[in-house]
């Protein structure tokens, strides 16, 4: 095999990638529409939904909690070294609470959940696909989109905002710990500063982001799992694709949603 470096190869590769991206986006959109449509059809699979809620929400709690606490702590520390240059050290609580509720809470929680629950969804549905379990559902009077996909989409949509509420609180707590123990803030002052500066909008925008991210995580897990082919290897690449596509989409949508909320 000879290694030829044709300048057009790069162009062709870019083209192929773009085409694949468009195909994927189209496929995922149709898949999402079908999944949402099935959400409104009877029967609603309550057990499957509750299980998905536990898998996505409850089981992600420890990792999201740890991420949030450390993020709040490091934010306070960074802010103190950065802001003291402008003798604006008193703004630390505001900076922490705004960063956490608007941005870092939803984004970091979503990235964590995508690595945990998104991957697990893709692996489970992918395995069901390659072992004919999805076909078996069809032969047993069960619509697989309604039974497997719809409950997970709803669970993602609901679980992420709940996780983010907790992440917000723990993020502020992290900042509070560093602020009071290390930076010499008075506890009461820190809390007043935090609360006085917080608007409903900050929290609500973060929760809306979380809901969107949760839906995207579940969607990418289901979509990639559902169309996986070819045994263990196929399931492996479906899992990778689910996490990568969800992470990229989370960051891209984060920008879009921020623009929508805060630049009017």
């Amino acid at each position: 095999m000879t290694l030829s470096l044709n300048p057009l190869d790069g162009l062709a590769a870019t083209g192929r990638f773009t085409l694949a991206l468009c195909r994927g986006a189209g496929g995922a959109t149709l898949f999402a529409l079908e999944g949402v449509h099935q959400l409104f059809r009877r029967p609603f699979h309550l057990r499957a939904f509750l299980r998905a809620l536990m898998d996505i929400g409850y089981a992600s709690l420890p990792v999201v909690a740890l991420t949030a606490i450390f993020t709040g702590m490091v934010l306070a520390l960074q802010a103190s070294t950065g802001l003291s240059r402008f003798s604006a050290g008193s703004a630390i609580p505001n900076l922490v609470v705004l960063s956490v509720t608007r941005e870092l809470g939803p984004v970091l929680a979503a990235l964590m959940v995508s690595g945990r629950a998104g991957a697990a969804i893709a692996a489970e549905i992918g395995t069901m696909r390659v072992t004919d379990q999805i076909d078996a559902l069809t032969t047993l009077a069960t619509n697989p989109m309604r039974y497997l996909v719809a409950p997970r989409l709803l669970a993602g949509l609901i679980a992420l905002p709940l996780l983010v509420v907790i992440a917000d609180i723990l993020g502020v707590l992290g900042g509070f710990i560093v602020g009071t123990l290390k930076l010499g803030f008075d506890a009461a002052t820190y809390l007043t500063n935090t609360i006085n500066f917080l608007h409903t909008d900050d929290v609500v925008s973060g929760l809306v982001k979380a809901a969107v991210f949760g839906f995207v995580i579940a969607l990418m897990g289901c979509y990639n799992g559902y169309r996986s082919r070819g045994g263990a290897q196929g399931v492996g690449s479906a899992t990778t694709a689910a996490v990568v596509s969800a992470s990229v989409l989370i960051l891209a949508l984060d920008y879009g949603l921020t623009e929508m909320f805060f630049t009017k």
Partner: protein
């Protein structure tokens, strides 16, 4: 033979074709299965037997042809109607395809629960009953499929396929992986389903003894077509060269295994 006693065949397949890319798997299948009879399909590995079943079930879209269930072409019928007809088929998948997130009893009664024909409490009792028919005791009902041996999984899958007493039953290699005695028990169970429940059965098997026990009629799939069709008891005696070579397992004959040495 399609119109035994002049009745409409339960399943009628005409000119069914399916290719995956350039690989032609089914190349014009014609097959009739009369109501309340059982048909056995034999054929070499990879000749498209499982694909044939999946086409009838609507799990694989064929390229062309006609598939009638009770006289209605499911390929052209409205989606609802086709789904209603296909819902009457119980299927045993070749690899079992048990739901590994659910315990055995929920697997067995999955279809009944999905159609709300049974409560969850009653489902456990029903599962115990059906599992007894396939030679499994009540102690397995709370296990997960991963905790069972391969042959036990196959029998749970069989129990799941027949639990709803479907009108039509498809069995993809029901006795592969079972010991000879259990194999004979399962064969008898399938015959019972046809005789007592009045179901119509379509079974794929590689075991000639089992084929003769289960089948009223038999068909051999070769190169994408039905190469021979006749009474199952003729499988070992027919002079048809393809069937003769296949059922006797002869290396010499019209079927060439392409091996590179």
């Amino acid at each position: 033979m399609s119109a035994q006693n002049g009745s409409v065949p339960k399943i009628r397949v005409r000119g069914l074709k399916k290719a995956f890319g350039s690989k032609i798997v089914l190349d014009g299948i014609d097959l009739d299965i009369a109501p309340r009879t059982s048909m056995v399909v034999i054929g070499g590995s990879g000749t498209g037997k499982s694909v044939l079943l999946k086409c009838i079930l609507g799990l694989i879209e064929p390229d062309s042809g006609l598939i009638e269930i009770d006289g209605t072409n499911v390929l052209t019928a409205p989606r609802r109607e086709a789904a209603r007809l296909r819902a009457r088929i119980g299927m045993l998948f070749q690899n079992g395809a048990l739901f590994d997130s659910l315990p055995v009893w929920e697997n067995v009664c999955f279809g009944l629960l999905a159609e709300n024909r049974i409560t969850r409490a009653a489902a456990r009792r029903k599962a115990t009953e059906v599992l007894a028919q396939v030679g499994l005791g009540p102690e397995v009902i709370t296990l997960s499929p991963a905790e069972l041996s391969g042959g036990m999984q196959k029998r749970v899958a069989l129990a799941r396929a027949i639990a709803a007493e479907p009108d039509i039953m498809f069995f993809d290699e029901p006795t592969t992986g079972l010991d000879p005695i259990m194999g004979a028990v399962i064969d008898e169970l399938i015959v019972d389903c046809v005789k007592k429940l009045g179901s119509t059965a379509l079974a794929i098997t590689h075991d000639m003894a089992s084929a003769q026990r289960i089948g009223d009629r038999a068909a051999m799939l070769y190169q994408g077509r039905i190469a021979w069709e006749g009474p199952a008891e003729d499988l070992l005696t027919t002079a048809q060269p393809l069937v003769h070579q296949f059922t006797h397992g002869l290396a010499e004959g019209p079927i060439q295994m392409t091996l590179r040495r």
